[in-house]
């Protein structure tokens, strides 16, 4: 394993200072995290980057790849509604042969609140990441902003068939599937062999459809295994046939999606481009108005306007972000080596057993990348 060199104490203190100003509660997280939970949240693709540790006969654990999940769990266990938590320590991710350390220091903050004040919280956390990163002394930083939810609002403006819109939202974070969907634009929907069975099932009640499917199984000599019941499979056969018959994207719609996802510009220009591509829509206007407010708050918090960019496709390795996303990047470090990253993840606490009302946003800074004398 390769560890990052240490950042000099004075530089580290400067990078840490903006966090101290917020008066958050200091927390720590166990270095050993339950492997199963992290894979459930992040997906199997994450496994290759985790250091798996297991004592003889014990549960499989891994070295913490970040602090967000353990901090969310601690917050939920506390039973409190709101909280600001500040942490600092080593995190571990396998570099997979890349010329990068596997062990690195993170300083971060997670903020939880009930409904309301989400824009203020977004701006506070993004401005914090900016201030901390900038304290490292690099003069070449840019704050890249994005919004996972904006894609949904944009799709609403395109008048797509519901199954198609659902599929696009699902594949938005998966470049290969998205590219396939866009390439298919304007072609005929493929013919589906199970279409006739699906037509039969569609005319029945849910219980009768399940019963019919069971008869089909027994006629074909199929022993049902593998957890999914007849009702579930029958309903999906119907949806699948509907989706197959639903029109694919038109060439014009695909072009609009491509242009939307390519937007990466100074915020005002980016939002003007989004409006030009999408046309009029109340939802989209509301989302863009919220961005206007966020930008005001960021300016008030001292983030220079000429250091901001907005990209519609800004995504992250963990797929739990569902609103604002941001990264602070240095001009001399590759885009995948962000100095700081963060975003809103309102859906994650509920997946970890919390109530749906908890709103969450957080950020993390890598001091070795923030410090001007650090990573090159």
């Amino acid at each position: 394993m390769r560890a990052e060199p240490a950042v000099p104490a004075a530089a580290l203190a400067a990078i840490r200072a903006p966090f101290d100003l917020l008066g958050a509660e200091t927390v720590d997280a166990p270095i050993l995290q339950p492997l199963g939970l992290l894979l459930d949240l992040a997906g199997e693709a994450m496994r290759a980057r985790l250091f798996v540790v297991q004592a003889a006969g014990g549960e499989e654990t891994c070295l913490r790849p970040d602090f967000t999940v353990p901090v969310v769990r601690q917050h939920l266990e506390s039973g409190r509604e709101a909280g600001r938590y500040y942490y600092e320590g080593k995190a571990f991710r396998a570099a997979l042969g890349a010329d990068q350390p596997d062990e690195f220091r993170q300083i971060g903050l997670e903020r939880f609140a009930a409904d309301g004040e989400t824009l203020e919280a977004d701006a506070e956390i993004a401005a914090l990441a900016w201030a901390s990163a900038a304290a490292g002394g690099r003069g070449d930083l840019t704050l890249h902003l994005g919004d996972i939810a904006l894609f949904s609002a944009f799709l609403e403006t395109q008048g797509l068939a519901p199954p198609l819109a659902a599929r696009l939202k699902r594949v938005a974070a998966r470049p290969r599937l998205l590219a396939a969907e866009l390439t298919r634009a304007g072609t005929e929907a493929p013919v589906d062999d199970n279409g006739r069975l699906a037509d039969l099932l569609a005319g029945l009640s849910e219980a009768d459809a399940a019963g019919l499917l069971e008869e089909v199984w027994s006629l074909a000599g199929v022993e049902p295994v593998g957890g999914r019941g007849a009702a579930e499979i029958a309903q999906r056969l119907i949806r699948r046939a509907e989706a197959a018959r639903a029109p694919t994207l038109t060439v014009a719609q695909a072009e609009a999606v491509r242009r939307f996802l390519a937007v990466d510009d100074a915020p005002d220009a980016a939002f003007a481009a989004v409006r030009a591509i999408a046309g009029k829509s109340a939802d989209l206007e509301a989302a863009l108005a919220a961005w206007g407010r966020r930008l005001e708050l960021l300016a008030a918090a001292g983030v220079p306007a000429d250091r901001l960019r907005f990209a519609t496709a800004l995504g992250h390795a963990f797929d739990y972000y569902d609103g604002l996303t941001f990264e602070v990047r240095s001009a001399v470090l590759a885009p995948d080596r962000a100095v700081a990253v963060g975003g809103r993840y309102d859906g994650l606490p509920a997946r970890l057993g919390g109530t749906a009302a908890v709103r969450a946003v957080g950020c993390m800074v890598r001091p070795w990348r923030a410090w001007a004398g650090g990573e090159a």
């Binding site: 199997e44 693709a45 496994r47 499917l213 022993e223 999914r228």
Partner: protein, 316 residues
């Protein structure tokens, strides 16, 4: 400077028999030292080779880390070593046996799942509805992960399986499997079907070189002899010698045949096996005959593709 060329050969089962038969067909019989249970051997007629008898999985590992120079094992096991395996090993020659497919198989009762795209959707719906991820039983973690990622399937979990993977869905410990199959009969018997685009790898046994092994002690010269012999035998299987009484009228016919892959001999031709009939009929048509066809034991080409490929990789 003459360290031995270390060659790993499967130590048991059908694979051992097949590799031994193939070697002795090449005129390179194994002679096991230390009795029939020995784990070291020599190749008759090829000094400078030390044979190690290992399990197929251990051969893949030994090639990967460079403990042996050459080895014969399944591509599925080599690919499972993970990372950029093609930077560490070089597949020299497919041997045509030990064929098996690594496939994604789902319950036959899943009438709504035919492709990886269906699987992606089912996995996504499951996690959205229940928070649980679809479980995939396999012992091929690396290839499963790569293949699923290539198809954009993200919402799943791997359940590591030691043996009898295909029984996992029936036992309730997984929803689907990624496993090796030769005929598919075991999968069918367990109520499973292979997805239409679910073949991850069509595997067979390959003669494989380790690029991490130390090739600096004269092993290349021994490897060249071994590879030339192997290629000469393989080419011989694919070739035939045609001879006929010398005849001045043959020049034009022979020219045509040479243009299609044959080589001129003093009183005949060396031709690919599948061209025997065509060539003989062409000769007969020109009034030349009788034509005798025989098969050579070895055909040594001027070049040796596998050796040249190896040389190019280990010299850098």
């Amino acid at each position: 400077m003459s360290a031995p060329l270390i060659v790993a050969v499967p130590s048991k089962g059908r694979l051992k028999e097949q590799v031994e038969a193939w070697l002795s067909d090449c005129g390179l019989s194994l002679s096991v030292s230390g009795g029939s249970r020995g784990y070291m051997a020599r190749l008759e007629g090829l000094p400078g080779v030390q044979v190690r008898l290992l399990s197929a999985g251990d051969i893949a590992e030994a090639l990967d880390v460079g403990e042996v120079h050459l080895g014969m094992t399944g591509e599925d096991l080599l690919r499972e070593r993970g990372g950029d395996i093609d930077a560490r090993i070089l597949l020299l020659r497919a041997l045509g046996f030990g064929r098996a497919d690594l496939v994604v198989a789902v319950p036959k009762s899943w009438l709504d799942v035919e492709t990886m795209a269906d699987l992606e959707e089912v996995g996504h719906e499951l996690v959205a509805r229940t928070g649980r991820r679809m479980r995939v039983a396999t012992k091929y973690l690396v290839q499963t992960r790569t293949f699923f990622a290539r198809h954009g399937v993200a919402d799943y979990r791997i359940t590591e399986s030691g043996g009898a993977t295909e029984g996992a869905p029936a036992a309730g410990s997984a929803e689907l499997v990624v496993d090796i199959t030769t005929t598919g009969a075991t999968l069918v018997a367990n109520g499973l079907k292979v997805l239409s685009d679910g073949v991850i790898l069509k595997s067979q046994v390959h003669l494989t070189a380790s690029l991490r092994a130390d090739w600096g002690g004269g092993q290349l010269a021994v490897a060249e002899r071994l590879l030339r012999t192997i290629e000469a035998r393989a080419l011989a299987h694919d070739s035939a010698i045609l001879t006929w009484p010398a005849d001045p009228r043959d020049a034009q016919v022979v020219q045509g045949l040479v243009a299609r892959g044959a080589t001129r001999r003093p009183n005949g031709l060396l031709t690919p096996v599948d061209k025997i009939a065509e060539a003989s009929i062409a000769l007969a048509g020109a009034g030349i005959g009788p034509v005798t066809a025989s098969s050579p034991d070895f055909v040594y080409d001027a070049g040796c593709v596998s050796y040249e490929a190896l040389l190019a990789r280990v010299e850098n």
